[in-house]
């Protein structure tokens, strides 16, 4: 395992110039090829996007009002849906994309774009809208058979019950020229990707859903640039000695582009973390964390627990809360099911054991008789030691 002490012969300036031009040509070629595929109509449309603000929207289903420049939808309709509409009148062939500006859609929400056209005005058309980080993504409609004639009204339907207020800033019909497509891709690449539970397994590199992932684009440019350099160098009958230099330089340049994007995201993450935790002591940090309410309850529960480790069973609907409750309870001798929402059989419990319940259905406690039962099992005698909203600590008697 040894490498040459001598670095490769320095590439002549001419080789470097050819590589720079090759990279530029590859960048343009890949970009133009992508636009040829992705731009639905003319590349430089003469029309500007059509935009409607929150004050022009009608809340057909759900409850809410316009606050500032946002339509704040505070609740779903009785059927669990939210419908927001706007009267429109534009040629669909000139505006092949529609983008709703909204935030705080529920996780995994089902959202659809609805519209009517003047060709079949009685027919209501719809298409699914992808939701990412609580935001609806732009919808490209150029392939839709119903996106014809003039659009006579468009609407946003959210079929999932809201878990927090939904804020809608407006909607834009886009002509989707080259500049807009490029802007959309850039916004996907530069979208803030905060740490999630999946970050130790997967780094997306910007928005969760991307029409053109940046690593693939950069890889294509690097490969084409090196191939161009090779072909060009052969064509002008120059030495290919600098091929390693050209390949490594193009590769490093591509890597740096990706790394610069990553560092930009990391710096935003650091700022985000700092805004949340800076200046807080350890206890305050835990109270400010995702499971702050749980930590607060465990803090109260620990005050009534014995100093020596006690056996504690933890139950919660969500496995995240089961695990986190156990984590905050150590070094007590905690037991929980890390995978399923399963509680122990009553006969496993012994007097002196504890049971901590956090946001779990199917658990009942009769204060008068001091009887605790769960999942239809026979009740056991237990004393309520601490409680809070949706949280209780029992000592088995």
């Amino acid at each position: 395992m040894s490498a040459s002490e001598n670095p490769p012969a320095p590439a002549p300036r001419e080789d470097g110039r050819r590589l720079a031009i090759s990279l530029a040509i590859a960048f343009l070629a890949v970009g133009l090829a992508y636009f040829a595929i992705a731009v639905p109509g003319t590349w430089f449309p003469s029309r500007s996007p059509l935009a409607w603000s929150a004050s022009q929207l009608s809340l057909v289903r759900g409850t809410g009002s316009v606050v500032g420049d946002e339509l704040v939808v505070t609740g779903s309709a009785p059927d669990g849906s939210v419908l927001v509409s706007i009267e429109t009148d534009f040629r669909t062939d000139q505006y092949p994309a529609v983008a709703w500006a909204a935030i705080d859609l529920p996780e995994g929400a089902s959202a659809r774009l609805l519209w009517r056209n003047d060709v079949a005005p009685t027919r209501l058309n719809s298409v699914a809208i992808a939701v990412e980080s609580g935001r609806p993504l732009p919808v490209a409609l150029e392939g839709s058979a119903a996106w014809i004639g003039r659009a006579k009204g468009i609407a946003l339907l959210v079929a999932t019950r809201l878990d927090r207020p939904l804020r809608i800033r407006g909607v834009v019909a886009k002509p989707m020229g080259m500049v807009e497509v490029a802007r959309d891709r850039a916004s996907e690449w530069l979208a803030f990707e905060p740490w999630t539970g999946e970050s130790v397994n997967k780094i997306v590199g910007g928005a969760d859903l991307q029409d053109l992932p940046l690593p693939a684009l950069v890889a294509a440019i690097v490969i084409i640039a090196v191939a161009l350099w090779y072909a060009w160098t052969r064509a002008v009958r120059r030495s290919l000695r600098a091929l390693p230099f050209a390949a490594v330089a193009a590769f490093i340049a591509g890597w740096f582009v990706l790394d610069a994007r990553y560092m930009f995201n990391l710096s935003r993450q650091v700022a985000d973390t700092s805004a949340r935790y800076r200046g807080l002591d350890l206890r305050e940090k835990h109270l400010a964390a995702e499971d702050g309410a749980l930590f607060g309850f465990i803090e109260n529960a620990r005050a009534v627990l014995p100093a020596t480790p006690a056996r504690i069973f933890v139950g919660a609907d969500a496995h995240y809360f089961r695990g986190r409750a156990a984590y905050h309870l150590y070094p007590h001798n905690v037991f929980y099911d890390p995978v399923r929402d399963a509680m122990p059989r009553p006969e496993v419990l012994r007097p002196g054991d504890y049971m901590l319940i956090y946001q779990r259905h199917g658990t009942q406690y009769d204060v008068a008789t001091k009887r605790l039962r769960w999942d239809g099992n026979a009740p056991v005698s237990a004393a309520l030691e601490a409680s809070d909203t949706g949280a209780s600590l029992f000592r088995i008697e």
């Binding site: 395992m1 040894s2 490498a3 040459s4 002490e5 001598n6 670095p7 490769p8 012969a9 740490w195 539970g197 970050s199 130790v200 397994n201 997967k202 780094i203 997306v204 590199g205 992932p213 690593p215 693939a216 950069v218 890889a219 690097v222 009958r237 120059r238 030495s239 000695r241 091929l243 390693p244 390949a247 490594v248 590769f251 490093i252 890597w255 990706l258 790394d259 990553y262 560092m263 990391l266 710096s267 993450q269 650091v270 973390t273 700092s274 935790y277 800076r278 350890l282 835990h286 695990g323 156990a326 984590y327 150590y330 070094p331 001798n333 905690v334 037991f335 099911d337 890390p338 012994r350």
Partner: protein
């Protein structure tokens, strides 16, 4: 006790590891040699962490109560003993050599343009390190397994001052309070012990500062890799660039920033074990065998699946030890693995409740997405594939074949995890393919850099300038 505790938590194992490596270094080794100091600092951190946790295990085994006093005393005594061995063997740390090594950072032998790139790269790496330190020293323990399988044990060890046994549900229920439980009761205790040690040194359970050793692991990995590449003959700028490639991998950075997982330690030990094995094949000394053995044994001690990584070291190490039979060893190893996997697809037998049967079920779109489309790896796997395609003839020449086999075996193992998803049951670990690939990624960066350098050298000699007609 915050900062002082952190200095003790990081400094004591680091000193122990450096002293141990120095004691086992070769007679002719000088810290002034290119990369030697970086190697010692980087590998020293990981050796120290392993030795410290082994001492904690030993204290636990003899029934001693774990505390800052007992652990620090045992570590200091071991440090004194190791330093004495180093002194006896004439391996003293010479300040002049250290100073000379540090002066190499000024790279006065490089031209102006390359020096600009060198300092720009150093600045970029420093900025990254600063951002990661700011992140991990602010956020409480965040990633799932870190609090459900690792820190859970560490908290119990720290608060009770003993390495308490952890068992599965049946054992816990039958144990009447003598056995503890968490989401990974059978996981090795090395990483929890490192966290417990940090808490002892801090004097409190602080699951923000517990993460700081992971930042040092990232820095030490960078130092070790740079040292390895310099010692293997790569120039300073090329070695630094390859180090940047390795430590800029987004998934690796995530494992530094979201501290608490074992993968970064596994990756470092795999790299160090691979390099030390090759070094041992060259020197054939007992001292270098001990170094290689420690790093190799660290793999299963850090994570259950480390045993498989240990097996992945065998073909490359055998090829390094038997260079004349290297090709035969490579072909035999590949044949054995292929035959074992094929046999597993044909059997329905089980051993100790673990089914031996494997289904070949590769999810190609997932592979493409994770390795080429998402930004887990920047362009790493494109680079590895390109180097393999362009420089394969160089990669299988005698000097590089062991390293090629070590890297190839690691990649083959990752591919096996991807192609045979049921392998997770064998490994006792359901880590994703990306987390498995993270283990081999730093070594893959080293292989890519060294193979490219050798190929570039050969290519430059082969390609003669074409006369220009005037």
């Amino acid at each position: 006790m915050g900062t002082a505790g952190l200095v003790v938590a990081v400094g004591l194992p680091w000193l122990l590891g450096i002293a141990w490596l120095r004691a086992l270094s070769q007679g002719g080794d000088s810290l002034a040699d290119p990369g030697r100091l970086a190697w010692m600092l980087g590998a020293g951190w990981f050796a120290g962490v392993l030795l410290l946790t082994l001492l904690m295990r030993a204290l636990g085994t003899i029934g001693a109560r774990l505390s800052l006093g007992t652990i620090a005393s045992a570590t200091l005594m071991t440090l004194a003993f190791v330093a004495w061995i180093a002194w006896r063997r004439g391996r003293r740390l010479k300040l002049a050599a250290v100073r000379s090594s540090l002066q190499q950072l000024r790279v006065t032998n490089l031209g102006t343009g390359k020096r600009v790139v060198w300092f720009a790269l150093l600045g970029w790496l420093t900025l990254r390190a600063a951002l990661l330190l700011a992140e991990i020293s602010t956020r409480p323990l965040f990633p799932w397994d870190a609090w459900s399988r690792v820190a859970s044990k560490a908290r119990v060890y720290y608060e009770l001052g003993r390495v308490m046994p952890f068992g599965d549900a049946e054992r816990w229920i039958a144990g009447s309070g003598s056995v503890w439980f968490d989401a990974g009761p059978h996981d090795p205790v090395t990483i929890p012990l490192l966290q417990a040690w940090t808490a002892f040194a801090l004097g409190r359970w602080d699951d923000v500062l517990l993460a700081v050793p992971w930042w040092f692991a990232g820095v030490a990995l960078a130092l070790a890799l740079y040292g390895i590449l310099r010692m293997a003959g790569l120039g300073a700028l090329a070695a630094l660039a390859a180090t940047w490639l390795a430590v800029s991998l987004p998934l690796l950075d995530a494992h530094v920033a979201l501290a608490g997982y074992a993968e970064i330690f596994l990756a470092a030990f795999f790299l160090l074990a691979a390099f030390s094995a090759v070094q041992f094949a060259i020197t054939r000394s007992r001292a270098s065998a001990l170094v290689a053995l420690l790093f190799a044994c660290a793999l299963p001690l850090v994570k259950s699946s480390g045993a498989f990584w240990l097996v992945a070291l065998i073909p490359g190490t055998a090829a390094a030890l038997q260079p004349r039979r290297a090709t035969r060893i490579a072909l035999t190893a590949a044949g054995l693995v292929a035959a074992a996997l094929f046999a597993a697809t044909r059997t329905r037998a089980t051993i100790a409740g673990i089914p031996l049967h494997l289904d070949f079920a590769p999810a190609w779109p997932t592979l493409v997405e994770n390795f080429l489309l998402l930004d887990n790896w920047h362009l790493l796997w494109l680079g590895v594939a390109a180097v393999a395609a362009m420089a394969w003839r160089v990669a299988i020449t005698a000097p590089l074949l062991p390293l090629t086999l070590l890297t190839g075996a690691g990649i083959a193992y990752v591919f096996a995890i991807f192609a045979f998803p049921m392998l997770a049951a064998w490994r006792g670990d359901s880590s994703t393919m990306n987390r498995a690939a993270l283990v081999v990624a730093p070594l893959a960066c080293a292989w890519m850099a060294l193979t490219l350098a050798a190929w570039s050298d050969r290519w430059s000699r082969r390609e003669t300038p074409i006369p220009v007609r005037t």
